[in-house]
Amino acid sequence: MQRRIVTLSLIFFISFLLISARLFYWQIISGESLSAEAESQRSDDLVIPAKRGEIKASDGSDLVSNQKAYLVYLEPRKMKNETQTVGSVASILGLDVASVSASINRGSRYWVPIAHAVEEVKVSALKEKNFPGLGFEEEDIRYYPEASMAAHLLGFVGKNAKGGDQGYFGIEGYYDLQLRGRSGYLRQEKDARGIPILMGDQKRVEPEDGRTLVLNMDKMVQFIVEKKLAEGIRKYGAAGGNVTVLNPVTGEILAMAGYPSYDPGYFKSYESEIYKNPIVADSYEPGSTFKALIMSSAINEGLVTPQTSYDEKGPVEIGGYQIRTWNNQYGGKTTMTEVLERSSNVGMVFVSEKLGHEKLFKYITSFGMGIPTGVDLEEESSPAIRPYDNWYAIDFATASFGQGIAVTPIQMITAVAALANDGKLMEPHVVKKIISGSGKTIEIKPKIMRQVISPESAHILSEMMVAAVDHGEAQFAKPKGYRIAGKTGTAQIALAGHYDATKTIASFVGFAPAEKPRFVMLVTLREPSSSQWGSETAAPLFFSIARELFNYYGISPNE
């Protein structure tokens, strides 16, 4: 009897020990993970994604918005008829059957993403098939109502290393953090059917949608510019080109177009070399358009006036190099106004000698060369200007007519805008205002960088540029009755340490109406084949766009 009691006690004791050990394991060792597992079974954790901010034109119309799309995925272990499922999915999505089949058979995968950004129509067609193992997940994609319009200005949205959305280039890149917003979070208890329990625990953090950006860009001006640029590229047989229009008084960028361009909605179909905006990322030698800046510097210093003259007898020699005029013709007694009208390199050497090396260098940097303009576009870069001590006499001479110095188109137009704006250099800006999800608006005010030349000097130079248009090589194309200040430019392209005489960058920069400028515009054409001269290619294109802008802004002739 005693023995049986002892045995029973022993069994009880061992059972107690085993149960305690098991409880110890459940509660102490695996307590945390089991608790988390139980929590996951009865609660739902959802990330509420923030909507990426929209981008609008100055009139409030959409340039970039969001559109619902789907990620299509397959779960190979749940699939019943692999051949039929893969065949239908590949056919509806326009994919290669072999590659879809290979992706699901790679190892023992549970979940295989098949395609991102699939449109609703295709998803509806797939849903009708009702294949086991075929699933969909909603995702937002960017929608461009104007298709490829202003692609270089806008940039695009791609994926980052973590698979999340990220803006690249242009506005999307520069304002990525503002546009991205902050995702929200929802944790709630659910019942066995997956329905949320109202009396249960619930924690909700609302998402903060990305901010909306309203641009200074005028959609109509952009449309005109893109249309005319495409026509110009075809007409003059150019390899590329770009046009920028800005408001000289505020620095607002009204239009910006580069060719070749791409469609940001399908950016993967294009070579990545064309993603960068050439207006802010590519440099070129500005050629004779630069003469306006150097001439204004000399006028500002009181060293020359429009009537100052010199005797143009022939080529001049600087540091062992001969500098000639573009047509190798020399006009004898020539005034400063005529130097711009005839675009005389020899005349500009005279001006640079009057100005002196130190002041010439000071004005070049003061006009913003060698320094990024601060435009709100991600890929802006600035070609470096060599330190003053590394310049030789020939460098100062050639810089006076825009050779041997590299600038970006945005630097060039910003500098010329200062001539149209009483000598004040403005920071160019693409975004006009930023609107948060709560409706709070941040206005971007015009920013004056510095006063480069006096208002009087700017007015004198404007008149000289008007004369350069009226009596220069491009006068045939000028719209009659309008006072347009402008300057042509033809710069040879430096290749492997020397200039290629057959390849040029033709350009024209100007503003109108000259007395109260409404816009300043820079047109550049790379390697035009119909003529290498800016006066026969870029200038007519400039005037053709200007004509449309006069109509659009309701500016009547006043001459």
Partner: protein, 96 residues
């Protein structure tokens, strides 16, 4: 003694009320789930319509539709440099 009885009755009523309210809320949660689905559908529909409006009012679309309907780009503008000698009637027409 009397107060105790009242407290017990109140406790019973509150317990009953709790059961009733919990029950009602839990029934409502499926309705709320349905409402949330409807809200999401309405938002999706709004987004679709916004996209459609943006697409239809796009300058590119308007331009191509105008061209297909036979509209042409405006003819060149003509400006009068000086006032022309236009004969105007002394008596203005009655515009009422």
């Amino acid at each position: 003694m009397k107060i105790n009885k009242v407290l017990i009755i109140i406790a019973i009523i509150l317990a009953g009320l709790q059961v009733f309210v919990s029950n009602k809320y839990n029934t409502n949660s499926s309705n709320i789930a349905k409402l949330e689905v409807q809200i999401k559908d309405a938002r999706d529909e709004n987004e679709r319509l916004e996209t459609k409006i943006a697409s239809e009012s796009s300058i590119m679309i308007i331009n191509s539709k105008a061209e297909s309907m036979g509209f042409s780009v405006h003819p060149p503008f003509y400006y009068l440099g000086q006032p022309l000698p236009v004969a105007l009637s002394n008596s203005s027409p009655n515009l009422k």
